[in-house]
């Protein structure tokens, strides 16, 4: 951990509000994205991401200085996201919530990708479709596999960081990640050949979301 991070943590332990604001500004987007990719719903992700930082504020005393602050944050985010996924799955089973297509929430995210320069509408549409397809594919993975794909392939964390966040041995991380990628590859290749065969203008949901 760097000196500046140690000083920041020392201030956090004293419940320095400005230090906490700094942490939220530095890590807020990353935490939000991780949770968003895990749960697939913006509304849920906002709720969970807020909870993550409230937990950070309350539990900073339990932070071990051997770890990096960012990985500790992401670990908390991961646990919160997993708990929420289980909770939502139980609610659906009990019939109190429709088995919704949560990926539709995220589909809206794909309609206006961040642009550093102006693209034509066809390029934007293709980018949005790709975003939809990728997110739908991720959503079909088992929770543990989805987490690893998001951490490694979306957030581009190192294996060391992923081991710290998940608590899994490196070998297990790699083998589960490999299986997740195989599954994604099959899904994406199937999707790609379906789209070529039918060339249908509608972006239907080509992946069946698992009933949890």
């Amino acid at each position: 951990m760097s000196l500046s991070e140690r000083l920041l943590v020392a201030r956090l332990v004293k419940r320095d509000e400005e230090a906490f604001n700094e942490v939220v500004r530095q890590h807020g987007d990353r935490v939000f994205n991780l949770v968003l990719r895990m749960v697939g719903s913006r509304a849920e992700a906002e709720d969970i991401a807020q909870e993550v930082f409230v937990t950070v504020f309350k539990s900073i005393d339990s932070f071990r200085s051997e770890a990096k602050l960012s990985t500790w944050l992401l670990r908390i985010a991961t646990n919160h996201a997993k708990n929420r996924i289980k909770y939502l799955a139980r609610r659906r089973e009990q019939g109190s919530e429709p088995n919704g297509d949560d990926s539709a929430d995220l589909a809206d995210e794909g309609k206006a990708p961040a642009q550093s320069h102006i693209h034509g509408p066809d390029v934007l549409l293709e980018a949005a479709e790709t975003e939809d397809i990728m997110q739908q594919a991720i959503a079909t993975l088992e929770d543990d596999q989805r987490l690893l794909v998001v951490l490694r392939d979306v957030e581009e964390l190192s294996y060391e960081e992923i081991v710290e966040i998940t608590g899994l041995p490196e070998g297990t991380v790699k083998s589960r990640l490999h299986r997740a990628r195989m599954t994604l590859k099959q899904l994406l290749e199937t999707n790609s050949s379906e789209r070529r065969r039918f060339a249908h203008p509608d972006r239907g949901l080509l992946f069946r979301l698992p009933r949890r």
Binding site: R15, E17, N21, V24, R25, G28, D29, V31, F32, N33, L36, R37, R42, E46, A49, Q50, F53, V54, F57, E109, G110, P113, A114, T130, E131, M134, Q135, I138, V149, D153, V154, E156, R181, M182, L184, K185, L188, E189
Partner: protein
């Protein structure tokens, strides 16, 4: 095996390009509000600020000091003197 890995990487290359979505604009404020509520006002108290910078407590104190100074000056400069009511 390396060529298979390369195929995986190409097929899944899109994952890394998934758009990073920014947290909502009110994200920090919402978190502060939550902590304030759960700590029963102990943290992230709402501060009233003049021009967004000067706390109103300081302004009140400054006004009290100014009034006191004005009173003392008037007391000194008055020809008949301002005498306290017995």
């Amino acid at each position: 095996m390396p060529h298979l890995l390369e195929r995986f990487r190409r097929t899944l290359g899109g994952l890394g390009s998934l758009k990073r979505t920014a947290a909502p604009n009110s994200f920090l404020a919402d978190i502060q509000q939550q902590i304030n509520r759960r700590s029963r006002g102990r943290f992230f108290r709402r501060r009233w600020l003049l021009f967004g910078r000067i706390p109103f407590e300081w302004l009140s104190l400054a006004m009290i000091v100014a009034m006191l100074v004005y009173y003392l000056v008037m007391l000194q400069s008055s020809p008949t003197g301002v005498k306290p009511i017995p």
